[in-house]
Symmetry: C2
Subunit: 473 residues, 2 copies
């Protein structure tokens, strides 16, 4: 394990020289506490930084990285802090790097249908700006209203529209980034194809801030779909709902934008949190299916076909939301499930498994069995159309905290074992961070972990940038 | 530079022990000559292997790699040999590895819409097999009728449909591969999302057979578009044709499947080669625009809109091909341009630059200036919809071979400098191999090359797998 130095007044003075006094937070524990955790509630994953800095460009970041290498102080980049695996937590203290000042949309290039942005831009702000031009960025994490684009890249964020549009990485065509040793590099460009050597750009995406710090991002935009419709489809039980998912796609030949799934406990909790009421009392599960396209007439044909397939496969009803207000209303329910659960029961572990879509019905049954075996609740919701399920392990009221601490690891071992049995993976979009680090060897095997360690050392020989995440190099 | 051993009878005996006598080619120079080159005609890029082997599975490949590491003999994997940058040429001799026996389509999983194949499967064979199921693999290199899927992955093949569907890598969800040191690893699966550590899968794609040997590939399939139409659109000159390209997409909001470009010399040469005649004598350039979709009526609306935009932007005519025979006929012309040129003039350098689509009109003018300055021909054709242009530097009849050898490097320097000026890249889909290795530092910068060298060493400490390609590690 690398030995790190504590940040001293002398190092802080050097940081002030680089970014200016007002952009260094030091000796202010109340402020620094904000940067000690992400959205995981469990305090055992939190750690205070020694200092926080707000650079304004790649040059300042390069200087900070050179200083950190010289002084052997770790640096942890942090976007909006909306992560769910501890990726932005400075687990060895040191410097937390913030991107609040790097929040400019630098260019909207309509001819090439590309945007150039800094990493601190909020995802939704980009889409709001370009919508009048008939363009959109197809990345769509559930935290779209708060998360930063830099964080989306670091996690290779997925979200609700991956069924049709894929994940964030598909749209990243160019990058400026600072290496852990403090070099400024440019990769790719406003280019649709590019095969000049190893695909460093794709390697950086999803590397959770351990291989480089993004300072400029070139994003491919798409023509914004002119028509959009959502179907809210209640089913009697989760199995029936989930069984319908692969059938909808293979029988219609239509790839929906999104197929979201919520079990009863999930949607009821969210409705309650939002102070709303859903009338279908006999519903045991719900699908939220979104379709989009260039032509409203075609879309009508398509949603009728999809709606009919739902009914043929056991839907209790098909509600259609085809205007901005109703669409926003159904998505609010889905988007707020995680937050509603936090309020309802903060002692929990939000999981992020992904399996082949054909195996979802089977693993749902297994999840039920695992919950009963360990006497916990595991409400499940998520992105059924791409197999990514947020099974959330929740402590029952009557279980003691000691018992919970002892039980949770066993639940996860069972859940992950089943996930691997179906050829699945323990994280679809939240990443490893330090929360899931100990499961890496079981997940991808020792030789793959060894390759990752060597790659980390190739980029970061002194193990300065976000150490202790994903793997221990 | 690594010192390699010559393959001896003793090593050949060990190879025979692994793969069997009939799967080793040794002391047969006529047969081995086939594996000394790819599709580059220039003999200076060719090199004879010592021996060729045909393993049948990952276990045999792992044994070969362990042997090669022990004996310090280089191994060069070779697909169909349809490459265009020398990636499959054994430039240090040693072992060429062939995949003729690993040509099985192992599984078509309709529920998950995935195929599992061995690397020696011909790309088109997969599509022919799955078409009756209403599925297709969207990778579409121009050599689709001969190239192997393993080679597509190694080069991250692009081709004609990348405008809408992206390149090969987008569809690769899982991999079994053998590391240069002889470990068998599995990455990903039948999964649409997966963020468990560094994206080794994406790093391997496009690594030109230098980081690992693919032994099993999991491919995401799409519902096959039920309707397809091609527009063949002659223009008076290349500038007018190319100026229309970004306008077609931004003004219609439609992303065509393909927008291919041919200048006069290119399409005339191909028509002549195919013994056909094209009636539009005043055409100085041509666009071939393909649209596809689920609904024939929508497609009709779309192609009328695109056709009208072409006419508004200077098209001389819009020919519509909407059945299999006519579609195949127009694509044959485009697919045969490269081969027609080989016959017409084998002394040439087929280039593969890519620029932002908005910069294509400008670089076309520059290409004309460069051709005149150096007294060579540079006919240009390619994938205009994604900015990837196969400018082909061709020796004029009257130029001596000595003068050509002296001129070509200067032409390339000028061409690449202009490409970089527009934020472009020297290879969109053919790769670096050893043909373009010396331009790497100018292309991506010394720090990026250094990172690539370290990555190569991380995977292949003895520099055994396809050495001397992309970079000198």
């Amino acid at each position: 394990m690398t030995e790190y130095k504590k940040v001293t007044q002398e190092i802080v003075d050097k940081l002030i020289n680089i970014v200016g006094e007002r952009n260094v937070i030091w000796n202010e524990p109340d402020k620094l506490e904000n940067y000690s955790h992400d959205e995981i509630t469990d305090k055992k994953y939190a750690q205070m930084p020694d200092v926080a800095v707000k650079p304004k460009n790649a040059q300042e970041i390069a200087e900070i990285m050179k200083l950190a290498n010289k002084e052997q102080v770790p640096v942890t980049p942090r976007g909006a802090g909306s992560g769910l695996s501890g990726g932005a937590v400075p687990i060895y203290g040191g410097i937390v790097m913030l991107f609040d000042r790097m929040n400019k949309i630098l260019e909207i290039d309509k001819t090439n249908m590309m945007a150039v942005v800094e990493p601190g831009v909020i995802t939704n702000e980009l889409n709001q700006l370009i919508e009048p031009d008939g363009l959109f960025f197809a990345g769509y994490p559930m935290s779209v209203e708060s998360c930063y684009i830099g964080g989306n890249l670091a996690e290779n964020a997925g979200g609700g529209r991956a069924v049709k549009y894929g994940v964030t990485g598909r749209y990243i065509m160019g990058l400026e980034f600072v290496t852990p040793e403090g070099e400024i590099l440019n990769l790719g460009g406003k280019l649709m194809k590019n095969v000049v050597g190893f695909d460093l750009l794709k390697l950086l995406i999803g590397s959770e801030g351990t291989l480089g710090i993004f300072t400029k991002v070139i994003i491919k935009l798409l023509p914004v779909p002119k028509a959009r419709v959502d179907l809210l489809v209640p089913f009697a039980d989760p199995e029936t709902a989930i069984n319908a998912v692969p059938r909808i796609m293979t029988e219609s030949g239509i790839i929906p934008t999104a197929i979201e799934f919520m079990d009863k406990l999930s949607f009821e909790t969210s409705y309650k949190f939002l102070n709303e009421h859903f009338s279908h009392d006999d519903a045991g599960a719900m699908l939220l299916i979104e379709l989009d396209g260039t032509d409203p007439e075609v879309l009508e044909k398509e949603y009728e076909m999809v709606g009919k397939l739902c009914q043929d496969n056991g839907a209790l009803e098909v509600y259609i939301a085809d205007n901005h207000t109703t669409i926003e209303r159904v998505w609010r329910v889905r988007r707020n499930v995680a937050e509603a659960f936090m309020v309802y029961s903060p002692v929990q572990s939000l999981e992020d498994i992904v399996v082949p879509i054909g195996s979802i019905p089977k693993i749902l049954k297994d999840i039920k069995t695992i919950a009963e075996k360990h006497d916990v609740l595991i409400p499940t919701y998520g992105h059924a159309g791409d197999g990514n399920l947020h099974a959330t392990v929740v402590k029952k009221q009557e279980m003691s905290l000691e018992k919970w601490e002892e039980t949770l690891p066993k639940v996860l071992l069972d859940l992950y074992a089943k996930t691997h049995e179906y050829g699945g993976s323990i994280s679809g979009e939240h990443g490893i961070g330090h929360k899931r680090k100990k499961y890496m060897v079981d997940s991808v095997g020792a030789p793959a972990v060894e390759l990752m360690k060597r790659i980390k050392r190739a980029f970061d020989p002194n193990n300065i940038l976000n150490p202790g995440k994903i793997i221990d190099a």
